[in-house]
Symmetry: C2
Subunit: 337 residues, 2 copies
DNA sequence: AATCCAAATGGGAACGTTCCCAACAAACGG
DNA sequence: CCGTTTGTTGGGAACGTTCCCATTTGGATT
């Protein structure tokens, strides 16, 4: 039972003014009689007048809305990133429309269409593990709507990207394990479609190489991030003839799942096997044993991405188009290694 | 550098049609020549045409957008609830605009204004600990925009509410502690402004009464949910002449913080002191020792709230206006008690 | 052959606002 | 006293769509 919404025309009629004058008051323009201004503001207040952003946006071609598409919501990574983005966006007067693609390419494409239809001023996106074709994002370029990638980026698109130094983070994590005397370090890697998976894998390999350890193909598995399967892989690592004495997991949820599996098998961490994760999720410092992990400034990633996007929306900086912001990681050594 | 967006008029001109006909095709209306339809669809596809929801919403007075305002984003409670709401909303074709009020009344009021300006079709809200005046929500009623409360509800507003049985959950948690032989059970309660705080406190009192334990005022503290202060209160409970042998915390973040403080003091949980939380946050099962807690179906709360809201938007069911949905809690007993 | 009907299309108002341009009055300077 | 400025207001197009009400056309019915 929607009541008729109060419009500037209603106010204008009541006060025997034109909508132009009322509009001028409400938008804070100059050249309007103080008495008139007063009267308009009072009536607006009294009638709970709210500007209709739809109409305004239609005219100004600006919605002050930015879209954010993430592959999933579980874990603490993306929620944290969203919080960061939301903070920056709110401060700059932007609204956030969020949507998750459930790690599915089709859903991602559908989501971009929704964003387009809703006339977002810009888009923050972290792509799914399935995304290999980027035509759905090309549309944004063609329409001149800025995009900023974060975390899961697309290398051959011209757009700012916010990432951490995954290679370096992985390198230091694995090097740390080697310094602790581990020789058989397994890597439960992410899907090869993701650049971050490849970079972390490369960091892993480099650390082995630096320490003259030959890589054992059996100790490296790329998986699809389905946590239910972690058990299988961990068991694989442990059942090898020459079993693993450490696991470097693609991310913290994976590492945490691995720890559960290992504990259930009755093995001791880190005595029997060490575990290292990536991201420093909220739970990582609380779990028993506390997880050694490569911390990422997740909230800052969200903030930086949002800031970059807003800068792009406001000014018109085409030179930035492929700027890459690499944030620092930090190895947090806890009891699991 | 926004390029001119493709409109139905562009398509109409190109094909020598009127915008009416193009509109008919794009909205899937009947009575249009199959050949014409075909041509329009092809050109729309080729030109990356996207309907402008602003214009549509302006006419139809429906944005297919629902707003959600939460007091904060940290912890796993509200993110989980949002995930649930987002899922239901997406399925029903609604977008979600989220905003957080940072536990501040002013921000909450500002957020409601933004929601109003953006013409949301409905609002999901969990109020801040500061909110005592509900005029900013009354506007929604007056405008006929449905609201659904969840978790932090407002008792004297006519609107559906989704909550759990806080009284019962607290009762069972405390009763459980008593069964385990605890006599000096402290309650670190939430702010008295929140109804859930009061209900949990009442559950606590009732459990003591049932077991003929007299309540000790010194063992009950209402606090403002600032986790930094937990240390002070826990130490207070432990330094009493007759110290506490159990703590029932208002929520899991509080309980987890308490556990850290207790462990740092060198005390053993649950031997020296038991701890019970509320909500079953993600981290609760992982922490050492695993936390006994009253689990809430958080995601379902979000889903239920969203569903209730959408039902209200679609049909016009005024009888529901003050329906209260109470979901079940479950006491999850772990090692901390 | 005259009439009617349905299918296909076009025209234009409406949604609530902004913003440009014009209109008008009062005040001012010479 | 007249031209010019300044302050204040009004009128109307535009934004991109939907939707109601014509209008046109060709075929079917009588």
């Amino acid at each position: 039972m929607k009541r008729h919404q109060v419009t500037i025309i209603d106010i204008a009629k009541e006060l025997n003014l034109s909508k132009s004058t009322v509009s001028r008051v409400l938008t804070g323009h100059a050249n309007v009689n103080p008495a008139t201004r007063q009267a308009v503001l009072e009536l607006a207040e009294k009638w709970d007048y709210q500007r209709n952003m739809l109409a305004i946006s239609l005219i100004t071609k600006k919605t002050n809305t930015i879209g954010i598409i993430v592959p999933e919501f579980s874990g603490s990574y993306f929620p944290q990133a969203i919080i960061g983005a939301q903070e920056v966006a709110a401060k700059a007067g932007y609204n956030l429309i969020i949507s998750q693609s459930n790690e599915t390419y089709e859903t991602e494409v559908a989501n971009t269409k929704v964003m387009l239809a809703n006339q977002v001023d810009g888009l923050l996106i972290s792509v799914t593990k399935e995304t290999r074709n980027f035509d759905h994002l090309g549309v944004f370029h063609r329409k001149g709507i800025p995009i900023v990638f974060f975390n899961r980026v697309c290398d051959d698109m011209e757009a700012p990207k916010v990432i951490v130094d995954d290679y370096d983070g992985a390198f230091r994590a694995v090097d740390h394990l080697i310094q602790r005397g581990r020789k058989r370090i397994a890597h439960l890697a992410g899907p090869t479609s993701l650049i971050i998976s490849v970079k972390r894998l490369n960091g892993y390999k480099a650390a082995l190489r630096k320490n003259n350890i030959e890589m054992d193909e059996e100790l490296v598995i790329s998986y699809d991030l389905d946590l239910d399967k972690v058990k299988i892989y961990v068991n694989h690592f442990l059942n090898l003839e020459n079993p693993a004495d450490a696991i470097f997991a693609f991310n913290d949820p994976t590492a945490i799942e691995a720890i559960q599996v290992i504990k259930k098998r009755g093995l001791k961490i880190p005595k029997d096997i060490a575990v290292v994760g990536f991201s420093d999720d909220y739970a990582s410092g609380l779990i028993d044993p506390p997880l050694t992990t490569v911390a990422q400034p997740v909230k800052d990633i969200g903030k930086t991405a949002a800031q970059l996007l807003i800068d792009q929306i406001n000014r018109d900086v085409s030179e930035w188009k492929s700027m890459i912001k690499v944030l620092k990681t930090e190895l947090i050594i806890r009891k699991s290694s």
